[in-house]
């Protein structure tokens, strides 16, 4: 050990900390955020600014009330990340109070009430989205077709603020249902998918984000890219995203093969709504997901199954937030039943018997070092 620090063992430290973790996630979600801002213009930027500022304000207020140090709590980036993730899951032109109430609920009720960062049971951003969707269904389902910054139809800076503060509403003809919402409504009127989808859905446009939807759920490929980068950086593990996306893929393929007129094809499910964002950025929250790898797989598959069930048979067209929050609630149960094997013990907890030929490890034999050294 040539380390200069006199800390206790273990001496190897990979420099991970909450601020670094949050920074990495923020960096990963940045491209999708910027792209969303480009697509939806100033009102979306205003909403993002409001959620982030209100999030930091609420965090500071709660820390002050609890008598804990404010600066480190604010600088760890968790409130910032909650604000960004919530803004990404909101309709881009939502009025300011949606963002403010949502992020206040996320920080105060979703996180600080349980004891602050690392203590929460539910993912704060998803909890806030569920609360907003239940409380304000009209504002939360007014979707906008993209108005890119370069197209000329995007509102200017001043007009953007007017829209955010509710003085000027989005005019008719620019709003439309998301593909999932539209398909739900039309299916309810006994139309078949081959009548519904043409003209409303192209897989390419959906993947590129050229569809109406939340700020961060349109640019699927950038979200995917950010998620893969997080995987590569080992900030998250593959168990939850693969479990979640895989479950949706398997279920959607199976039902689509059974009845293509009733059940949408798997690509539509993967490329629309907040599934990518949920799978890589919401469900993988280390605080609210299981610890063991098998537990994480169960968690991910559970999320995916719930998403498909809610989308197909539930009361809402989109169910990622509900699925994640429900599985968050099941996390302690999963952790109780699926535990990692303790070192030196069998799965049932008995001491593991070491076979005679393995008593001396190969490494020790080669270097001639006694294992007690």
């Amino acid at each position: 050990m040539n380390s200069n620090s006199f800390a206790g063992a273990p001496h190897a430290h990979d420099q991970d900390s909450v601020p670094r973790l949050m920074g990495a996630v923020l960096l990963a979600i940045l491209p999708a955020t910027l792209y969303g801002l480009l697509l939806f213009g100033w009102p979306a930027f205003n909403l993002l600014a409001i959620t982030v500022l209100m999030g930091l304000l609420c965090e500071a207020g709660c820390l002050w009330l609890a008598g804990r140090p404010i600066r480190p709590g604010l600088m760890d980036g968790s409130a910032l990340l909650t604000g960004v993730l919530l803004a990404l899951s909101l309709p881009p032109w939502a009025p300011w109070w949606i963002g403010a109430i949502g992020v206040g609920f996320a920080i105060v009720v979703g996180k600080q009430v349980f004891g602050g960062t690392g203590q929460n049971i539910f993912n704060p951003a998803m909890l806030a989205r569920v609360m907003l969707l239940v409380s304000f269904p009209v504002e939360m389902t007014t979707w906008l077709t993209p108005h890119p910054w370069w197209s000329g139809t995007s509102p200017g800076w001043l007009e953007g603020w007017l829209i955010t503060f509710g003085h000027s509403t989005a005019t008719d003809g620019v709003t439309g249902a998301t593909i999932l919402g539209y398909a739900r409504t039309e299916l309810g009127m006994n139309h078949s998918l081959s009548q519904i989808l043409p003209g409303h859905y192209q897989a390419g446009a959906a993947a590129l984000g050229w569809t109406g939807g939340s700020l961060g759920e349109t640019a699927e490929w950038l979200v995917l890219l950010g998620g893969l980068w997080l995987l590569w950086r080992r900030v998250i593990t593959w168990y939850i995203p693969v479990g979640m996306l895989g479950a949706v893929l398997v279920l959607a393929s199976g039902f689509h093969l059974l009845d293509p007129q009733r059940f949408a094809d798997p690509m539509l499910h993967l490329l629309s709504g907040g599934l990518m964002l949920g799978a890589f950025f919401m469900a993988t929250d280390p605080v609210t997901s299981p610890i063991s790898s098998w537990g994480q797989i169960v968690f991910g598959v559970g999320c995916g199954v719930l998403v498909y069930i809610i989308r197909t048979w539930g009361g809402y067209p989109e169910g990622v937030a509900f699925a994640v929050v429900l599985m968050n609630a099941a996390t302690p149960l999963i952790d109780h039943y699926i535990r990692p094997r303790a070192y030196g013990r069998t799965w049932s907890g008995k001491p593991r018997l070491v076979p005679a030929h393995a008593k001396q490890s190969p490494l020790a034999r080669k270097s001639g070092v006694d294992s007690r050294d």
Partner: protein, 224 residues
């Protein structure tokens, strides 16, 4: 125990049925979507509590300890049935709103709890005072939570109060914000839990502050 001041302090604050004992939460979540409903439910429960405590205390020497719980339940059930019929007869509009929950007063743990822990061990006047105090404490909690949920959820206060109290109380019905969007979550049961949680936290803050003040005053006295 004949310390009536203590009994009322217990019922209204220190040992409040909702804010300290955490009993009666089922009717609390179910009916407190408006302050008026809370008031109606609270008053009905108060009447039942007052009557049940009185009856149990007056019969306490004849009830064998082995069968006391069934006897208490039977007494309370009869009284609740009376209250149910009375409200149906004289406050029919309110009955239509609270209908289902009036018979459920019988399963309110608070009523049985007072019979068991207080009325069965105390003389009639003290037991009656305890029933009244506990009932008023519960009413206070129900109205408070109902008011919070109503203000946040629909920006009104004491809506439909005239149904409960008569047309002379129409002035209580206020609309705080015209053209309010509505905050649906507050009117649903989760809103009840959230408001209850924040009010509980508020009560503890107040208690801690008074405690600190008392400590400070004692310190000053001892210095002088």
């Amino acid at each position: 125990m004949n310390d009536y001041r203590g009994i009322f302090a217990d019922g209204l604050w220190h040992n409040n049925m909702v804010f300290a004992q955490m009993l009666a939460l089922c009717p609390l979540m179910a009916v407190t979507s408006t302050a008026t409903n809370g008031l109606g439910m609270g008053l009905a429960t108060t009447a039942v509590l007052l009557a049940s405590n009185t009856v149990v205390a007056s019969l306490r020497n004849w009830i064998a300890p082995e069968v006391r719980i069934p006897v208490f339940v039977l007494l309370i059930a009869s009284l609740v049935t009376l209250a149910d019929m009375a409200i149906n007869a004289w406050l029919h509009e309110l009955y239509k709103v609270l209908g289902l929950f009036i018979p459920l007063i019988v399963v309110n743990c608070g009523v049985l709890g007072r019979a068991e822990s207080f009325a069965s061990k105390n003389p009639v006047p003290a037991a009656a005072a305890d029933g009244l105090a506990m009932g008023l404490g519960l009413t206070l909690a129900l109205v408070l939570i109902g008011a919070c949920r109503e203000i946040l959820g629909s920006a009104t206060l004491f809506s439909h109060a005239s149904l409960l109290l008569g047309s002379s109380f129409t002035f209580l019905e206020t609309t705080l914000i015209e053209d309010y969007h509505g905050f649906l979550l507050m009117l649903l049961p989760p809103g009840g839990f959230l408001v209850l949680g924040f009010l509980l936290a508020g009560k503890r803050v107040i208690e801690r502050m008074t405690e600190q003040r008392e400590v400070k005053e004692e310190f000053h006295c001892s210095v002088q």
